[in-house]
Amino acid sequence: MGKHAMPYVLGYFTEPAVFKKACAASYAAGHKGHEAFMPWPLHGIEKLMGIRRSWIGRPVLFMLLFGAFCGFLMQVWMMKYDWPIIIAGKPYNSWPAYVVISFESGILSGALANLVLVLLIACKLLPSPNTTLPSDLLTDDTFCLAVPATEHGSVAALDAWLKEQGAERIEHYLPNGPLTASSEVSHA
């Protein structure tokens, strides 16, 4: 969530449809720096929050083709130029025989690029022995919309706004610090 001095106001939801509406409302209200947590993906929510489709498609396609090209080039260089050997009377550059390994090199390169891009570069994830989320239920059955207080009025106003959106519980959370306050609200 970044390093903020001011607390985030967190609204918890268990109804996916209500949560989606709240996220869309947050985007419409212009809450900059808001963040939403989901235990499972809700399709179409990224559009409601103004998030563009992931960009990792083209780089992976490039790496796939680049890997295949390198695999092909490797075989041609080794078999035709570096150590040419006549095998079964075939030409040195028997390119149809190189198709399988070129294909596999492309697949391997694309798959590795896909993993590295999504984890390390796009999501900026790294293994850590003490990852802690604002709530342990965020990977279970609870959705959370987090709005930074600095961006939109006072903490109390955000409390009221999230309650209006159907949040079942509201908490205040200081990133890189403990919870500062917690207040249960009744389900709207």
Binding site: E15, L64, L119, N130, D140
Partner: protein, 462 residues
Amino acid sequence: MRPTLAELENPKTLIHESVTARDVTLDVIAPIFRPPSIGWWVGLFVSMAIMSLMFFTFTIQMCEGLGILGLNNPVMWGSYITNFVFWIGIGHAGTLISAILFLFRQKWRTSINRSAEAMTIFAVTTAGLFPLIHTGRPWLDFWLFPYPNDRLLWPQFRSPLMWDVFAISTYGTTSAIFWYLGLIPDFATVRDKCRVGSLKRAIYSLVSFGWKGTVKDWNHYERAYAQFAWISTPLVLSVHSTVSFDFATSKVPGWHTTIFPPYFVAGAIFGGFGMVVFLLAPMRSMLKLEKYITFTHLELCNKIILATSMIVGYAYAMEFFAAWFSESVYERSQFLYRLSGPKAWVFWTMTLCNVVAPQLFWWKRIRRSLIAMWIIAVFVNIGMWFERATIFMLSLERDHLPSSWDIWVGTPWDWMVVAGSFGWFMFLFLLYAKTMPTIAIAEIKSVLVNPSGKATGGAHHG
């Protein structure tokens, strides 16, 4: 009145609408937090004992040489290559379920894809052992890879055996990272259910890669997952095709045929689904996952077994037709040898297990009977091993020169390795079932009808 398990199914997603997201979390991760049962320990020790037979044989073989096996001239490829192709095939169902069914938006895959993918990884791991040890000097296996060396030599890239090295290593790596990517959000779920400060939490936190599950993360993650499915689909079709090239590009009667790539892929999916049913039918009761792996899931797997059994049966028939139609005396003699030679029992066991036994799945009662489907799955596995034995050993026993004909007879070492490979596979699967979520938690939640349990007042505990 308590609903029956059949009634606890939703016709679209197969999961009943009373199942909530919280139910999924608690039910799927429960086996990780429960102390291991006696049955699990017994299974683990038995599989380790059987597995040790294989590693003992490998050790003896490294001291004594390949002569301890039943190999001879002309049957240079015996039980090891049979095991190799058998286990590679077993892995195919996992990729089919995780990738191809994903692209076809088959929601029923969400209950079984995780375990089927695990099966793929363990099957490929098992398969990979055999060509490596079959080289006779496995400590020099790194020679197979193209690296600058003081011998100034490169591998022979025009050989299908080299294609195999690349195909299998790519398949193993890609399947493993696809599986791991799917596991990351579920590891995070387990992490958040562990006590704060515990070693268990630290371990699951490490393996969950700091997963937070923000909308931005899911946006990239879902794209990457779909891309893995696109990448894996041609891969899975190519791997067994490449394996079949090892044989089809040679001139041995019984091997030299263009039908091999699709025939091998269909056989692989057939055998793989046999193993899926063999594993999941007991696992669903042992891990109390009947709500998620329903009879309908297993029935769908059984229908695929039936369909692929007929494709395989057609391929068997086509091989005979092609041998007759080719007017090649060698081909005709090979197929007569399979039908009526001294090893005809191998061919007939294969036919009985792979073509006849699955026909019982025409009956709905059999498709939905746990015991019946499990027994047929055992038959399918036996049949697939014998199919590989028929293709490899019986073909090699009768090559072009009658003077070189011989019969492969397995030594106890061969059979110890065959049994040991099953022990090794089961050992890995049991470890997986105890330490990882055996159902894709995040994926299955996305197909629930009423995940919060509020709309219809369904069960919601916790």
